[in-house]
Symmetry: C2
Subunit: 211 residues, 2 copies
């Protein structure tokens, strides 16, 4: 699929053509916990066939190193060192699709489990861009599993809750109710929570959980 | 390295042999939501290389039909029509491994998200059988995703809770605290919950959630 940068209005007119030959599709793809063998077959195929793979560091080096450098576009964000804003990423996805590019937006874990895939999907839909969501194995399940820890067990846990440890910093107050989470009696998995781990463990102890 | 328990000392000597030819390994493999493309690369490879695939109906017809009939062993259980008990399945896994068979125990979704993989793993460990857990995409994430519904969203849900709708029938009372789940303010996904859907929705309404 040819890439036509900064397309003109004429190209945009083509983009709306029924043939669908002119606009690309954006694939919001979960890469799983980082092991290339834990990519889905679909994710693996799409990475191979995509024109461009937009990614940050979260898919991990083993997966990223397998993608030809010429089709990688790093829009990495790291806690504390913001590099590309979400709105810039959204705009870039639409731009690429309108240029006729098939884009894989590769995200660590699952795009819909704290992956901001919901926001990207919404933006694409609002801009009339074709998209497909390809789920990935969330680290919330895979990380404990790698240590042979089941997140549920018939005898011990009838529910499991995944909580973001990295809420929108612009929120006035946290939407996370640690008391309610503790009261569920189920397993609690906090994602991206290392930065605030002492706060969260203190909140859960206050909520009556064993240390 | 294969481990062989319940075996004579002589067999143990074989089991520890570098060739590893005497005992098999049990792979507890999640098959994801049913689409063969959403198998992981690892799951797909293990299904190809296994001597026996022990499965129930949950992986779904599309995946099961791709497995050669001669290596499929159906230990299916269906709600209301129990066919093979969990203890029979556990015993069969150990038996096959001790016969030197490499077994894939194929489970719908993820083996550790209400998949009873934890129980099987425990049994295998207690019997000294080598095992590996291969996570799969849980339907708890994939089913909403198939309808373009993100289970979390930065603006709307800072947590997501997965709850079994199918607790151990021998439990005296449900361990599920619907009030606490509602109080989390996050997304709630009930798995295998169709049979008791009216009860659960009533419980959540009682807990103050919108209908």
């Amino acid at each position: 699929m040819p890439i036509d940068e900064h397309s003109s209005d004429e190209a945009d007119a083509f983009a709306d053509d029924e043939s669908g030959g002119e606009t690309g599709t954006v694939y919001l793809v979960g890469s799983g916990p980082g092991n290339p063998d834990l990519l889905t077959v679909r994710a693996s195929d799409l990475i191979d066939s995509a024109d461009v793979v937009l990614h940050d560091k979260l898919p991990g080096p083993e997966i990223l190193e397998r993608i030809p450098v010429e089709k990688r576009e790093d829009v990495g964000k790291r806690a504390g060192g913001e590099r590309t804003s979400q709105s810039e990423i959204n705009a870039r996805l639409v731009e690429l699709a309108e240029e006729g590019t098939d884009v894989v937006r590769l995200k660590g874990g699952d795009p819909f489990v704290f992956g901001r895939g919901g926001e990207e999907m919404q933006y694409l839909a609002e801009h009339g861009v074709d998209f497909e969501v390809v789920p990935g194995i969330t680290s919330a399940v895979a990380a404990p599993a790698a240590a042979d820890i089941p997140v549920t067990h018939r005898d011990h846990a009838s529910s499991v809750s995944f909580v973001t440890g990295h809420e929108d910093p612009e929120k006035d107050e946290s939407a996370v109710d640690w008391q309610a989470l503790a009261d569920t009696g189920g397993t609690i998995v906090v994602l991206m929570g290392v930065g605030k781990l002492p706060e969260y463990t203190a909140a859960l102890r206050d909520a009556g959980m064993d240390a």
